[in-house]
Structures are given as structure tokens and as C-alpha cells.
Symmetry: C2
Subunit: 484 residues, 2 copies
């Protein structure tokens, strides 16, 4: 008996049977011409319905895997035989010696950069205070399915099946221009927008276009480790921009920096919003020193207070602010979609660079997302996130006040995390390891600092993935670890 | 009257109405609390069914755009009000002078590289002999929809909603390892495989990891312009590897090249398959000179003769062949999925580099593709392409023999294009421009040569996008242009 069905798998019975029949054809157990068992017999043997077997057989006929022979049932087709070279019989053997000296050829500085690390199985812990991973149960899957279905029509496919080379989906660009950017106070033409593989790819493209050895870049410290790593990789010389309880300290910006990396709406990782006075001072200083500003607006849609904080880009009169936006937070991170808003000459260059690097973001996802925004599902989802995350935010604030008083930075307007400074003597790495044993996942803060020893007392608590009712208990347990 | 319905649009009536109501809410024409017209009245006014209006209203209630008030109908909700900052009233104004000297900041060498250019509207021409764009009508859209639906289950979403940081979907890696690579004679472990944003991204990652100023790279000439551009961008010094009717000329490979770029299965753009003797010689020479080989196996699944030509990688005993594969041809190019097979140390480094660049390919597409391969749809699609493209290939060969005798390189085993050398005096750019006026899209050959003047007589005719019954007529018209 070739086939087995396991009803405990999440995998539908139909798929299990289908995949096993195809595997049998591909590995040669079912040779062309072999007669398949009758649907009645196979259904009886496997304890599944005859209708299921018939559906599977019929679908396999569509794909030429089976042939339906009148009055004789189903036989195996020759699809595998006609579709390419046969695998050679033996596994390719290696020379005993490994002749290529990879350690000499590869510059391993990238692999040794400091990065944020989460336990791979963080979803299995009861108190996952991880950052940047959304609560998948809130995502409106039926709406996404519906948009996906629409994007997969024959008509729409004509637009997205092809290699677009350098172009972005005009429908998505339109939605970003008309629906997303105005909510940040930004008005941009099509030629000022580039779709990226997430905000990370946006930062990489900006860095690849503008940074090289000899270019000086100021970067918030503490700040976003990935930005630091990207800029270093491109050869820039980095200068720390100190951050206090008002955000980046404009008075401390070194004149020799040609480019500044900032997160004004919601400082990463301290969550502080830059005050209106400092925003003005930042723009004035950049204009004075002819500096470009990279604005990473990574959590623009997590303001639960209702008080608008427009993007710094909205006040940019000189075209010196390069804005990166992300759909990771307001769609889902695995989608890898983001965008850059910047002056035309730079967008043109980055588009050519993106062509070399990856051509364009997958067209089917671009179209599906465009429909999701156009039909209002995106806005409705943000409203839903606001309700859920706003509640968790208040629960976090109350819990921190109660169990870890005075340790957390005052939250500005929302976001999805708190930045906490442990008591004297805290070592965040030791703390994280001990917490994990208690089922608590938290993120050590040192990685955010250019000099890691300055960040030993800090850690971050994300709250987008932890269930609301677990927050209080998790913080209570954490306080025991910190103070007990 | 706010809303209009246009039945001539491909856009469903439901979506048209839904989008207009949401636009009205977002732009403030429909303020919170506004009473909506009754479904009966709106249906009458727009000449659509009342059921349609009710479905739209109900879906808008789900998204909090409308509120259903018992015995009073529907009112506008306050979703827009609760979901973020209001756009500022005025368009951001620019300073009169444009103060950033972009031309000084940007290295515009990328934007000025020579590239293959197709007319953007090539789909509108009657004889589109374009290359690399599939015939979308052959793609099994229902199967892709079905896999997409399965990948979008709540259960599966747990796997793909999150940022996977550096990981690939293990399901897709498994399918590539067990179903695709063995068909090329390649057996690789999980740690020897990296998923890329298409083969182009694979070449970029390899180049970014291994090439820098001072590295010498041999590249087929004529060859793939994108590879040439990527390698140049990374600072490598390029050496042409001449190509004759047997493929790349191994005897002419310069010793000082540390890396060689080749397309042995199906030379790009001449379509020649490298002979077994030359393959052996190539591997021996590379071993002798300690050279790495990049094998771009860009059209592995277009062999219509049934005679297997395994990948060069399958004979690689030293781990010096870096293999790039693509799903663009056997799925659709807009999907942007490909893979690299290479030794572990290099994969590890490129994974770190990919993390900086874009993290990973979109997870939903990875999972959908894994299901598409697992359930045999991919193999069935290739078999279908073989039938369709094999027929066009024979039609092309016959037509070229009849109308352009002696001009086309003898086709090796299939592919999706022919490489043609026009009569003495042919200038491919002039020819392409004249052909376009007759409704014929062809690709000038000069861009494939490092010295463009050497390629003036050449052009490429792709046949994946042109309908079979148009081929003969198209070639006849082309011959008039060439000889008349």
C-alpha cells in the first residue's frame, strides 16, 4: 500500500493524497501506464470518502498526471517523462580535500556584526515581550484573501505576471501617494516614490546610493542596529548622535556629518517623540550644514492618543529629507513591502540600483496590497490594531508603574514597545537568559548602543505579540527577577 | 450624487461602490454620523441590485466604516477619525532654490549602464518576439489560487506572517532540494541553498560577497548584460570569454580571472549548449587555476528534445561552482523567486548580506510556491509549457529556415529564443526601430557584447509571448525588412 492518510495533520486529506500520488509518479514507483486503484477501493482502504478520491483523481487528470480511460478507470500519465532530464543515479561526490579557501575569499565582517537576536521559538513562550512581530490573530485574513483573489484574475495577471524590470505597480504607488502619505503630511509625485522590499531594503538602497568610504554619517545612539550595520557595510564613518528624554540632541550633531539618520516620530529604541522645537532646530541645522536627513518613520501608525505627529518630511522645504516607510507594521512583516520618498534624482538612481539588485518587489504582492489599501481594509485594520495595541499599551504602562516603578522611559504616544532601564548592576544579557527560563522573552538593550557597555542596564519590552491578559502577570514575574 | 458606477470597467461593481464610499469618508465628504441612503434608494439611483448595495454596506460595517443603527439604517462611523494624524491642510511648499547638489552626491554610473530595453507597451504589438516574458494565458491560475488559499490559512499564516530575519521557508527549501535540483542532477543540503529575489538577486549577492576592485572576472561575450552590469558595479575588472558555435571557448579563458561567469546549459544569448568535452575542460581548467565558476542555469526547464543536459554543478567535485536557479521561467517573472546553490561558508555570508539588503523573500509567496511545487502543479505547468513552447520552437526553426535562411544559430535543445545574425550591413538598432513600425518587436543584439560594435549585425527573437499562429507571418514580414 503506497498511501497513508494522517487526520491529525493540519494538511487537508485531499492534499495528502494528491502529494503522495505525485511523489510516487516522480520517484518512479508509479510508472506511466500503471492502473490506479478504483476510487471505491482506495476510499475504503484509506477510510476516506469516495468523493475525496474522485476529486483528487480528477484534478490529477487536469495536470496530466493521470489519464482517464473510459470503462477502465485511471492510469498514470507520462508527465514526468516528458518534462526534463532524469536525475543521475548517484549523489555527486566531493573530493576528499576541500580545495577552495573560502576563509580567504570571503569578507566575514557582515556575519560578525552585532544584531538583535530573538529565540527562534519565541512563539512557544507564555510571555513573549518581543518587538516587531505582530499579533497574527488580529490580521483580517478574509479581506487579504479577497484582495488576493481579485489580484489573481486573468485580467489583473496581465499586469503583474511579467518582469516589470524597473517599474513599480502604478496602483500601489497611487495608493501610497493618495492614502498613506497624506496621513503623514507628505505629498509626493510618482517620480518621488520607490517601492522597496521593506524599510530595511529602503535603508540599504539609500546607503548604497550615497555612502562610501569617506562619507560621514551621524546616527542616533542608542539607535537601530540594522541601520548601523548597513551604513558600516557601505563604508561610511559613523558618528553617534546622543539621545536624551527629548529624542536626538540636535545641539550635539557634528558638523562634519554629511548624512544624519533619525527616527523623529518615535525614537528607536527609546520611543521618544522629537519635540516641535527640536524638529525645527534639526531642519535648520541640516540646512545650515548642507546635511541630508534619513527619516525612518518605522512606526507611523501606532499613535493611540489621537494627537497628530506628522513626519519630519512634511516640513522639508529643501528636499533634503529621505523618508522610508514600511508596511510591515500595518500589514505583516513577512510581506516585505516598504517605500522611499525622496527627490527625483535620487529616486532615479536608486531605481537603477534596485534593478541590479533585485529588479522590483513581487508584483502579485504589490497588486494585492494596492487593493487592500484601496478598498479600505488597511485603514480598518489600523483602527483595529489601535484598539488592541492601545489597550495593551495602557496595560503595560500601568504594569510597569506598579512592578518596575521609575524604570521605564515615559511612553510618548504609543508604539509597540517600552524601553526599560534596570536597577544599578543589571546586565541585560544575563537578565534575558534568566527571564527566558521563566517563560519571559525580552530584548537586551546593549545591541542598540555603538558602545555596548553603555547599554548593559537597558532592555526592551515589546507588546504586539503578547496577549493582553498575560501582560500584568509577565511584568510581575519580571520584577521578581529584577529586584528579588 | 456622490457615487457613479461604470459597467465597462473590469473592476467589479461592488468594489467600485465600496471604494467610492471609503474615499468619501477619508476625504471628509462623508463625516462621522452622516446617514447613508437606504439600500433600495441607492440601488435604484445607480441602477444596480439592492443585494449588491447591502453586501457592500455589510462589509463596510465589518470594517467600522459604517454603523448599522436598528430601524434607522446605516450611518458613517468614525474609523478615519481614530486612526492617525490628520493631513495638514496645505501641500508642502518647496524653497525656490533647490539647495541639494544631487549631481555631486550621486554616482550616476549605474543609471547610464547599457541594458536590454523593451517597448513598455510590447503587449500591444501583433508580433511580439520579446524574450523572457511568458505567455500568461498558459499559467494555471486556478492552481495558483488554490495554493495561495491554502497558504493563507490561519494555521499557515503563523509560519509566514512574521519577519523571518535571515531564514527561508523550510517548505520551499525542501521542495527545491527534493523536486527541482535533482532534475538538474544536483543534490544539496539545506545549508547549501539560499532563496533569492529572482536569479538577478542571486547574481547580485554572489557579486557583493566576492567581487571588489582588484578581483578579475571572466564573462561570456556575448553574454548577459545584467551580469556584466552587476559585476562592474561591484568593482570587478571584466575579461571577455569568447563564445563560438560550441559555447564558451575554454581554451581562451585568461589565467588571471579568479571567477568565471558562464551559462553552459544554454548560452545567453546564443542558445548553444556546451559540449560534454568542453564542460570537462572547463572544470579541469578552473581546478587547475583555482577559479570559481558562477553557473547561471537560467533556462533549465526548456529542453524540448527529452535529452537530459544536467547542470555543470552536478559534476562539481571541488565545490567551486556557484549555481543560480530561477523560478521566473517556470512560474512567472513577476514573482521574483530564485535560489543559489553553493558551499556552506559562502551561503552563510550571503545570508548575512541578504539580511542587510532585504532580509528575505516575501514569506507568503515562498509558501504558496512551495505548495505549488509539492502538489505537482509546477511539474504539470512545465509539461504544458513544453508542449506549447516546443511547438513554437519548431515553427520558429521552420520559419527562419524558410524566410531568413542561414541567419539563425542552430538551436540546441529548445529555450525560448533564437539568436540571429543579419546580412552584412545590418544595424540591429535601425532594424529594431523599423520592425517596430511594422508591428514586430525584436531585441537588438549589440547590448550583449562588451564592445557593442561587434554585435551590430545580431538580434534576438523570443517566442514565449507570441501566439503560435503569428510566428510564420511575423518572420515573413521581418525577412522583407532585412532583404527587401
Amino acid at each position: 500500500m503506497l498511501f497513508t492518510i494522517d487526520r491529525h495533520l493540519p494538511h487537508p486529506v485531499q492534499n495528502q493524497l494528491r502529494e503522495q500520488i505525485i511523489a510516487g509518479i516522480l520517484n518512479g514507483q508509479l510508472t506511466p501506464g500503471t492502473k490506479m486503484p478504483s476510487s471505491r477501493k482506495l476510499a475504503d482502504d484509506l477510510g476516506i470518502s469516495r468523493a475525496t478520491v474522485m476529486i483528487v483523481y480528477d484534478k490529477l487528470v487536469e495536470g496530466d498526471f493521470l489519464i482517464s480511460v473510459p470503462r477502465s478507470g485511471y492510469r498514470v500519465g507520462d508527465v514526468a517523462a516528458t518534462s526534463g532530464p532524469k536525475p543521475p543515479a548517484s549523489h555527486n561526490e566531493r573530493s576528499a580535500a576541500f580545495p577552495v579557501a573560502w576563509d580567504r575569499l570571503i569578507d566575514t565582517r557582515i556575519a560578525s556584526q552585532r544584531n538583535i537576536v530573538k529565540p527562534a521559538d519565541w512563539q512557544e513562550y507564555p510571555y513573549p515581550f518581543v518587538y516587531g512581530q505582530p499579533d497574527a490573530s488580529l490580521f483580517p485574513l478574509p479581506a487579504w484573501r479577497e484582495c488576493s483573489r481579485q489580484a489573481m484574475s486573468r485580467h489583473a495577471m496581465r499586469d503583474w505576471a511579467n518582469d516589470a524590470v524597473t517599474a513599480d505597480d502604478p496602483e500601489l504607488v497611487l495608493q501610497i501617494r493618495s492614502k498613506l502619505l497624506p496621513r503623514r503630511g507628505i505629498y509626493a509625485s510618482e517620480e518621488e516614490i520607490l517601492i522597496t522590499l521593506g524599510a530595511q531594503n529602503g535603508l540599504y538602497l539609500i546607503a548604497a546610493a550615497l555612502m562610501r568610504p569617506g562619507v560621514h554619517v551621524g546616527i542616533e545612539d542608542p539607535g537601530y542596529p540594522d541601520a548601523r550595520n548597513i551604513f558600516e557595510h557601505c563604508g561610511a564613518t559613523l558618528h553617534p548622535l546622543p539621545v536624551d528624554e527629548g529624542g536626538v540632541m540636535v545641539s550635539e550633531i557634528p558638523n562634519q556629518a554629511q548624512i544624519l539618520f533619525v527616527t523623529p516620530s518615535h525614537q528607536y529604541p527609546t520611543t521618544v517623540t522629537l519635540s516641535p522645537a527640536r524638529r525645527k532646530a534639526l531642519l535648520a541645522a541640516a540646512s545650515q550644514n548642507d546635511q541630508l536627513i534619513i527619516e525612518d518613520d518605522f512606526e507611523s501608525d501606532t499613535n493611540y492618543t489621537g494627537q497628530p505627529v506628522p513626519a519630519l518630511k512634511s516640513e522639508d522645504r529643501d528636499g533634503r529629507v529621505l523618508y522610508t516607510g514600511s508596511l510591515s507594521k500595518s500589514m505583516f512583516p513577512g510581506l516585505r513591502l516598504g517605500y522611499i520618498v525622496a527627490p527625483k534624482p535620487l529616486i532615479r538612481e536608486m531605481r537603477a540600483l534596485r534593478r541590479l539588485m533585485l529588479r522590483h518587489a513581487p508584483s502579485n504582492n504589490q497588486r494585492t496590497t494596492a487593493l487592500f489599501i484601496a478598498q479600505g481594509y488597511h485603514l480598518a485594520y489600523i483602527a483595529k490594531l489601535h484598539k488592541a495595541y492601545g489597550e495593551r499599551w495602557r496595560k503595560m504602562a500601568a504594569g510597569l508603574e506598579k512592578y518596575l516603578p521609575g524604570m521605564a522611559t515615559a511612553p510618548s504616544f504609543g508604539g509597540t514597545s517600552f524601553w526599560v532601564k534596570g536597577p544599578e548592576g543589571t546586565d541585560c544579557d544575563t537578565l534575558a537568559a534568566r527571564a527566558l527560563k521563566e517563560g519571559i522573552v525580552l530584548e537586551p538593550g546593549a545591541v542598540h548602543f555603538m558602545a555596548p557597555e553603555r547599554g548593559e542596564r537597558y532592555f526592551r519590552l515589546g507588546f504586539s505579540s503578547i496577549a493582553t491578559e498575560r501582560i500584568d502577570d509577565g511584568l510581575k514575574r519580571l520584577s521578581t527577577l529584577l529586584t528579588g
